[in-house]
Symmetry: C2
Subunit: 415 residues, 2 copies
């Protein structure tokens, strides 16, 4: 039954029912958390064998002792692994420490002086909703952000192409091209092909920050497929416009994985030179651990999927059964990644989050998925179902759907 088809009396009745349920939840003193895309302990357990896997053998084929200093680009074996994640030649891969975010931050720091020589105000395009930590990097560097909406095949390329053509101050764009955070979009072949040609319009120092964080994070045996941006951009002689990122944070250990950056030979050499004053080399011992452990990434990721698929399916089941046909919210049904993105029909996301928080269910703050924390429609709520156990997730979702309907009904009554 669509909420907006109810008459005032029906709305009041429903509000009373929901308010009573809300009071009951309050009495239960919950403490549940759906805020961050963290792997569950059972997922982390899958990689426990990584500590100790070296068994005293620290030498590489080429004689390098991974325990000692040196080598900013990473060990050849780990660059090979990075090539698999990023779908590029291992010679174009830098293997970093435990954080791809740190590589992104450093890459922006590296480019910023070049951009600032060309424009007073450096701007970045931000497909929204997106990843709050991308936006935080821009804020840290005073880079102005411009929202770009999603359409079916990914970010709205018509808008993007026209924006970069008209505004030479736009120097980059953040993308999570596969199982996008939080919407779950995997960019269509046409979208990727248009990204490959974007530098032709945007200029040689424009950078597509292609954060392929969920490259191997499929939920189903028939995964989404992402076209090869680097290959297409190279064909179009735009390889310098592309910088790729990935990590094993949600493959092995979230806090102790290894990160990958992929870039053209020219870009990689320039970035390596930028890093020289700040680091002698990243942790090669941990790189070697990962190489030894991740001999079959796909098989390992299936074990992850088996753990988190039921959680995503529970989200879908709960949202459907409580909200379908009420006309008050839409949500994503991703084939991979770490999030479900929900949009309320009315501008009530902040109110829903506050109401849930008041009864002990923490949700990502409304607006967090937008630059400057401002959701212009006040409608997006990011659901991160991987970390909680099934029982906690079930309870938390009950509260979420209750709050959504309660706020929507109350609002309809006031109108």
């Amino acid at each position: 039954m669509q909420i907006n088809s109810l008459n005032p009396e029906q709305l009041r009745k429903r509000q009373t029912e929901l308010a009573a349920r809300y009071e009951a939840v309050k009495a239960a003193s919950l403490s549940l958390d759906l805020t961050r895309g963290k792997p569950a302990p059972a997922q982390l357990d899958l990689a426990n064998a990584i500590d100790g896997i070296l068994d005293g053998f620290y030498l590489l084929q080429d004689g390098t002792d991974v325990r000692n200093y040196g080598g900013i680009l990473g060990i050849p074996e780990a660059r090979q692994l990075g090539g698999q994640f990023l779908n590029i030649d291992p010679g174009l891969v830098l293997v970093g420490g435990n954080s791809s975010l740190a590589l992104m931050y450093q890459y922006v720091a590296h480019m910023l002086p070049t951009w600032q020589r060309q424009t007073d105000t450096v701007r970045f395009l931000c497909p929204v909703p997106g990843y709050d930590r991308h936006f935080a990097i821009c804020e840290a560097f005073g880079i102005e952000m411009i929202n770009v909406p999603f359409v079916d095949g990914g970010p709205d390329m018509d808008q993007i192409e026209s924006l970069v053509r008209d505004d030479p101050g736009i120097k980059g764009i953040w993308c999570v091209p596969m199982y996008s955070n939080p919407t779950g979009h995997t960019y269509s072949d046409d979208t990727v092909a248009r990204f490959a040609k974007l530098a032709g319009r945007a200029g040689p120092d424009f950078r597509i920050m292609w954060d392929n964080a969920y490259a191997v994070h499929h939920l189903y045996d028939q995964p989404d497929r992402l076209a090869n941006l680097m290959a297409l951009a190279t064909e179009a002689a735009n390889e310098d416009s592309v910088v790729l990122f990935a990590s094993t944070s949600k493959v092995t250990f979230a806090g102790a994985g290894i990160a990958f950056l992929g870039a053209s030979g020219r870009n990689l050499a320039a970035f390596e030179k930028f890093l020289v004053p700040q680091v002698i080399g990243f942790d090669k011992v941990n790189q070697l651990r990962h190489v030894r452990f991740l001999t079959d990434v796909d098989a390992h990721m299936k074990l992850h999927a088996d753990i988190i698929r039921p959680k995503f399916e529970l989200v879908e089941k709960k949202l459907s059964s409580a909200l379908a046909d009420k006309g008050i919210a839409r949500w994503s049904r991703p084939n991979g990644g770490y999030f479900v993105s929900l949009d309320t029909s009315a501008p009530i996301a902040d109110r829903v989050v506050a109401l849930a928080s008041a009864v002990g269910v923490k949700l990502t703050p409304a607006g967090a998925t937008f630059p400057y924390g401002k959701d212009p429609d006040n409608s997006n709520i990011r659901i991160a179902p991987t970390f909680p156990g099934m029982t906690d997730l079930d309870r938390a979702l009950d509260v979420l759907v209750l709050c959504i309907e309660l706020v929507a009904v109350s609002r309809a009554l006031r109108e």
Copy 2:
């Protein structure tokens, strides 16, 4: 016999002898390297057990799962360990990744905007000879460097105090206060006490970058003693002027250790805030490995000393037997650290390094121990004896002393 007391005929005779020996060395096709302060494989072996030490236990006392995201300051147990290294309250410690250099770079990046608001040209004092990578950080940020010489108790404090009083553009100083790189100085109590009061002259945003890289790296049972700068600075209400650094790079693995930063509560909070956009947290699994492994740091460091002490003693023996009483070079006799610093009496360091290199003995480039790579006296040569085996070290030192005398004699002949 002092070289400068020889007559031309004696000099020519000696030159002929040395030149013949140099030709013989050339024929031997050596390939030896005394350039970098790297631990030897036998030292790295001491920590091999660190991989696997967790044995599947990844939870902390407080319930934290070190495998998952979060916590920029580091795990409490590792902050405790850092407190030991830095000789401060663990609450003032940040535990980073595998590089203290990266923390120094980031700390300078963090302060730079503040400094730049106060002066057109930010300047740093650099006790010389010093650590090339400190100077490289300044170069990367366009910070102007001013050389300060060493006296017996450390850097020349009279000069430092007068410089910071007269030039408000001076915003910091690099120090390796114990077994200084490369001179081996441990700063005297008086020097440390004067550093503790320096901010009174230099202003509130002045920072002493106290890189205590060799805090526990003693060669002998009677180690040097370093006064507690943070305690003294706190007494003088100058605790904000002090930032301490250390790492386990030369304790466990050079490329895969953990790094420590110590700072006042106010500084630490500001620096943590600066780091938020660029990293979710450092590698807590490796932090926990170090805590489990380093239960007795002093005992572990004695094992290191047993391996490298003979190398330092070989350097002293070789230099003494070949160069003593010739009046052509002086050198340090450190009680710890990783280097011997040699100064030629004449400005010939570049020529010596080139001559040694031509017969396969690599030395740190002349000038590398000075800002901008420029040794004004062209006299300092840094000897890094830890990495080579005893036989290689012996050979390399033979070549070094040969080259020093050959160049000195040739120069004396031309005069």
